[in-house]
């Protein structure tokens, strides 16, 4: 390769570096008194967490069972990722701001430092008057191991919508928690899900009663602050018959040199004619450009279209984390149910992504749609892993999969690993895949029109992601577009 060519590639790579670790805006730390238990994992720790939350016996038993199973399981090694062995005895499994010691408080009493932390992150925990024309968003803010506040609860309650921290749900709606917890992701589903089931400390809970269209966007904002602390939260969203909810999730963490583990579980249940849209903008600290530090994001997300005509749609914008292992999936159990997965996964520097989805067709005339856009830059590795599975009874099942990879520079890698299994002859499955590079000619064209190389890359990447960005709720699209490094797409036309 000529020197000139090498320098072009290098420039491009540098520009893209700016989307990654070097310009991580959310890397600050909050100095706050915390209540933190010693490192290590044992039955006693599981009991401690459960006792801290004053949980009923059935839940403690559930956790202990998960812990027993986890001990006999092996960490999965099939993913296209490579990281040093995690010492599970060297992690802290519970850290909470001291001010939260006496349990959740009303919003007025939340520690001002926490409010400030969230406002620096662009998240308002105040229910101030919202400007005309701007939609309200209810937020549940999870800081390390606990939920520190949930907004608009009373207003939502008027419609019968329950939106609160997981801990509160266990106290106030034990029947719902008991009925649905682990019903989508069984506690021994996989290594990380089992670990989460044993030690999860908090998370968000949401129930939309029959026929109710949730009047505002719901969101959870995850923040890992403490060093050497894992975050194990659990989200459970239930849309009863004919209900609708759009749920958003955002995540950030301080820049730290050591890796931190985030092993969450999200379960969605959609009953007859219900619809859940679940969107994620994942911006965990990705580590520095040499791969030092960053979050291990090992997450199990699954939705169950439990009854007829249920719809679940996952949209994710994954830009952060050192290592991502994540496959938001849909079980299409109800006849005519629909599952969707729209994903943008950006990897840069030394980041590693192994992400995708599973669409499990069990009911008749079920359909699923997968659009995945992987962008790799730097020396990163980006794998799409997708499974489409059609059960013998799933007559008339349909799937459409489109899986596009964009490479920036020549030291990164993209992999596509589709698994397709159809046990019913009437299934119609389509799969399209492309791999492309940002060409020097495209970059030059943009520069000739006045864009600096960084803007040029942002514009081209934005165009590449368009099909997915369109599926994000307006409120999140802005953040996502900025994250992808974009200013204008969608503002006209």
């Amino acid at each position: 390769m000529s020197e000139a060519k090498a320098s072009i590639d290098k420039d491009t790579v540098d520009q893209v570096a700016k989307f990654g670790g070097e310009h991580y805006k959310y890397g600050f730390t909050t100095e706050i008194d915390v209540d933190k238990i010693p490192n290590g994992l044992s039955e006693d720790i599981v009991r401690f967490i459960s006792a801290k939350k004053e949980e009923p016996q059935w839940l403690l038993d559930w956790r202990l069972d998960a812990y027993e199973r986890w001990k006999s399981m092996d960490e999965p090694d099939w993913a296209h990722v490579d990281y040093p062995k995690i010492d599970y005895q060297d992690l802290c499994y519970y850290a909470a701001p001291k001010s939260m010691e006496d349990g959740p408080k009303s919003l007025d009493e939340v520690n001002p430092q926490l409010l400030e932390t969230y406002s620096k992150l662009g998240i308002s925990l105040q229910e101030q008057e919202v400007l005309a024309g701007v939609k309200k968003i209810a937020v549940d803010a999870v800081f390390d191991s606990v939920s520190v506040g949930t907004t608009f609860r009373e207003e939502l309650a008027k419609d019968g919508v329950i939106f609160c921290s997981f801990s509160e749900a266990v106290q106030e709606h034990p029947e719902l928690v008991k009925k649905y917890l682990g019903s989508v992701v069984p506690k021994s589903d996989n290594y990380f899900a089992a670990l989460n089931s044993a030690v999860f400390s908090d998370g968000s809970f949401c129930y939309i009663p029959p026929g109710v269209k949730c009047p505002m966007e719901l969101s959870t904002y995850f923040r890992i602050n403490e060093a050497n602390t894992g975050q194990f939260e659990r989200t459970l969203v239930i849309a009863d018959k004919g209900a609708y909810v759009s749920y958003l999730e955002g995540c950030t963490a301080p820049m730290r040199d050591e890796n931190q583990l985030h092993a969450a579980v999200v379960e969605l249940v959609a009953l007859e004619d219900a619809e859940i849209k679940y969107s994620t903008v994942q911006n965990w600290y990705p580590g520095d450009k040499d791969g030092k530090g960053g979050i291990y994001n090992f997450v199990t997300k699954r939705g169950d279209c439990r009854e007829a005509r249920a719809r679940i749609s996952w949209t994710q914008v994954e830009t952060g984390s050192a290592v991502t292992w994540k496959y938001p999936s849909c079980i299409l159990r109800g006849d005519d149910s629909v599952g969707e997965f729209y994903s943008i996964a950006i990897s840069n520097n030394m980041q590693q992504v192994d992400s995708g989805t599973k669409m499990l067709h069990l009911g008749k005339n079920t359909s699923s749609r997968i659009i995945s856009k992987g962008i790799s830059a730097g020396r990163s590795s980006n794998a799409y892993r997708g499974q489409v599975n059609v059960h013998p009874k799933a007559a008339g099942a349909r799937n459409f999969t489109q899986c596009d990879s964009l490479l920036i520079g020549d030291k990164c890698a993209a992999h596509t690993v589709p698994y397709i299994e159809a046990k019913n002859l009437s299934a119609v499955l389509e799969h399209e895949a492309t791999t492309s590079k940002i060409s020097d000619d495209q970059l030059f064209f943009c520069q000739q029109r006045g864009l600096d190389p960084e803007e040029a890359v942002a514009l081209i990447v934005n165009g590449f992601c368009r099909d997915v960005l369109q599926h994000l709720p307006m409120e999140f699209a802005v953040e996502a577009q900025k994250l992808v490094g974009i200013s204008l797409e969608g503002s006209v036309g």
Binding site: S2, Q448, P453, S491
Partner: protein, 254 residues
């Protein structure tokens, strides 16, 4: 008063291969110059070197734009300074609408000049007006940049970008090839509308046809990386008749 563009003894190449071998050319504000010349003589190379495409090495000579040397400027700085290149082969950018591209481009240039960006409403009005003048319907603005455009539509789209950006110097690299007769007229009208006392154009073409519509002040013949003859509009007519034989032989081993 300094020339809009003054190229003096320019030598440039790519990957160690010399392509421009001592090219000189001067354009005054308000002038339209045409460059004609056989395939491979270096016309597109000249346009790339002027606009700063990576990979082209300038090994000698000067390129001055309004008295400022272009050599050390990044491509986008040249664009902001008012240099525009209509590409011989316009690029596609999937997923980015024509409208978004135009707006991003215009605002980047305004920003680069320290001016305010254009608000959405004024931009939309301007884009519609300019595209209609070029016989393009509003649907074209919503389509992805050049994706699935016919050859002629792509060329027309280049002129739309030029009309929006109102550059001081426009280099048009074979903008006429691939245009049907009516499109050629529309595009030429668009170009004529942009003729102004403070603006210059360098029109690269193989055909006299375009020059019937846009009357050039000067016609240059380029061969083997140099301007080998310059004259008035009649030179183009001559070339049409007798071809380049006379010039090609003369410059071998130049």
């Amino acid at each position: 008063m300094s020339a809009l563009l003054n190229i003096d003894n320019l030598q440039a190449g790519i990957d160690g291969t010399p392509i421009l071998n001592g090219l000189s050319l001067s354009i005054q504000p308000g002038e339209v110059h045409a460059i004609m010349g056989p395939n491979g003589s270096g016309k597109s190379t000249l346009s790339y070197v002027l606009s700063g495409k990576d990979g082209y090495e300038v090994s000698g000579g000067d390129m001055m734009f309004e008295g400022q040397s272009l050599a050390d400027m990044a491509p986008e700085e040249r664009a902001i300074a008012g240099l525009f290149l209509a590409f011989q082969y316009p690029l596609e950018i999937p997923g980015v609408t024509n409208m978004t591209f135009l707006k991003t481009s215009l605002n980047a240039i305004l920003r680069g000049r320290g001016e305010d960006e254009m608000d959405a409403a004024s931009f939309l009005r301007l884009a519609r007006e300019k595209s209609r003048a070029l016989g393009m319907n509003d649907e074209m603005l919503k389509r992805q940049l050049n994706v699935g455009f016919s050859g002629g539509e792509k060329k027309r789209n280049e002129i739309l970008q030029m009309a929006m950006l109102e550059p001081k110097l426009a280099i048009l690299d074979e903008t006429d090839s691939g245009l049907d007769i009516d499109a050629l007229k529309t595009v030429a009208e668009g170009l004529n509308a942009l003729r102004a006392p403070d603006r210059g154009m360098l029109v690269i073409t193989h055909y006299q046809r375009l020059l019937d519509f846009i009357k050039p002040d000067v016609v240059h013949v380029m061969a083997a990386g140099r301007i080998v003859k310059s004259g008035g509009p009649e030179l183009a007519l001559e070339l049409e008749k007798s071809g380049y034989a006379e010039y090609v032989g003369e410059t071998v081993n130049a």
